[in-house]
Symmetry: C2
Subunit: 215 residues, 2 copies
């Protein structure tokens, strides 16, 4: 009956107040805490057990990104909604990397904030339009290319994988219980198929083409 339990971290007192009122006027939400800094973030969460945390980025003492990391590490079930004026790539991606579940901007309509809280609570990932576009573009750039198929045999993949993990021919031979010369034979085939002619090139190509997670 008390709706989604929310706490907020923001050093702007006026903004915290207006959000407090916004949430109090709406039966779907309960404001369980409001803090001007996130130095005691773990304690605050322990005490209030929120469903959703609204987190500013620029705060004295500890910035919101660090706060997010702490929350994710200790309370993985809590959803975090970034609420900030920043829309630079650096902050956005740092927040996402830290584990934020949504990212909206302070110039948004109050109604959007409420909607975003609901959405992040129910497993969505509310993002300001420009942010979502940034995220999509970044993803487009990093997503693997259409994987070329180099027609490596099972054994060859096995050998290449070990090579990528730093083993020498001799070590690979030992690991696979085959002869040094057999490893060499496989390597020759691999070089041929990958169009390379040295271990370093093979490793670089294997990792870059994501033939292996390599780690």
């Amino acid at each position: 009956m008390d709706g989604i339990k929310v706490i907020i971290f923001d050093d702007n007192d006026l903004l915290r107040d207006s959000i407090t009122m916004l949430l109090q006027d709406n039966a779907d939400f309960t404001l369980a805490g409001s803090y001007s800094h996130c130095l005691d973030v773990a304690e605050n969460i322990m005490n209030t057990k929120p469903d959703v945390v609204i987190m500013d980025i620029d705060m004295p003492g500890m910035n919101g990104i660090e706060g997010v990391k702490l929350i994710r590490k200790n309370f993985p079930a809590v959803q975090i909604l970034m609420f900030t004026v920043f829309d630079e790539d650096e902050k956005v991606f740092a927040a996402i990397k830290a584990g934020a579940g949504g990212y909206i901007l302070k110039n948004a309509e109050p109604q959007n904030l409420l909607h975003a809280i609901s959405e992040v609570y129910s497993g969505g990932a509310p993002m300001a339009p420009g942010i979502a576009r940034k995220v999509l573009h970044h993803l487009q750039a990093t997503l693997p290319e259409d994987q070329k198929d180099y027609h490596l045999s099972m054994r060859e993949k096995e050998v290449l994988s070990l090579l990528v993990h730093g083993l020498s021919y001799k070590m690979i031979a030992a690991k696979l219980s085959i002869t040094y010369d057999t490893v060499r034979a496989h390597m020759k085939k691999i070089y041929e198929k990958l169009h390379v002619s040295s271990m370093t090139e093979a490793v670089a190509k294997a990792i870059n083409q994501k033939l292996f997670s390599a780690k």
Copy 2:
């Protein structure tokens, strides 16, 4: 006065009809074309010059992902909104990689579709909640770790970079106009700093830690 110009590709005739009606009832949108397959996608776009394309994935002849690639390649200004029943990672990421600007599901409210069209048109990236979450998670997983600093000197980075690009000691020496032995000296330092002891390990570590884009 005729609003956002939309065309749609979907092999479900009933669905195309209902979207046709939906758009006709709304002055903010104009339906400029409706096709059951995207085999003639380039021609269709040439003729209709749409602002936004609504694209299904599963269609006879050519699937929507391929269609998206074609559109992106030839008409980069056109925004594409995926509209499909699929929410598997594979399809989602393939569509994003291909260049889709938004991704919503067919079980969404009609109102959401209209909203998504507006959003993708104005530079946003509308996504179904679950899709957005997938995207965020994927990004979290691929975003670079907090880069460890191996304290490599400028010269050492230079040498390592060339190594990653497949050059041998000799080639590196030539490229940098230094002696083979100098390259060796740098490599020894690099091995020490990266805690490795072979070229392959150095290359693997350099790429995995994203010291270089390596491509």
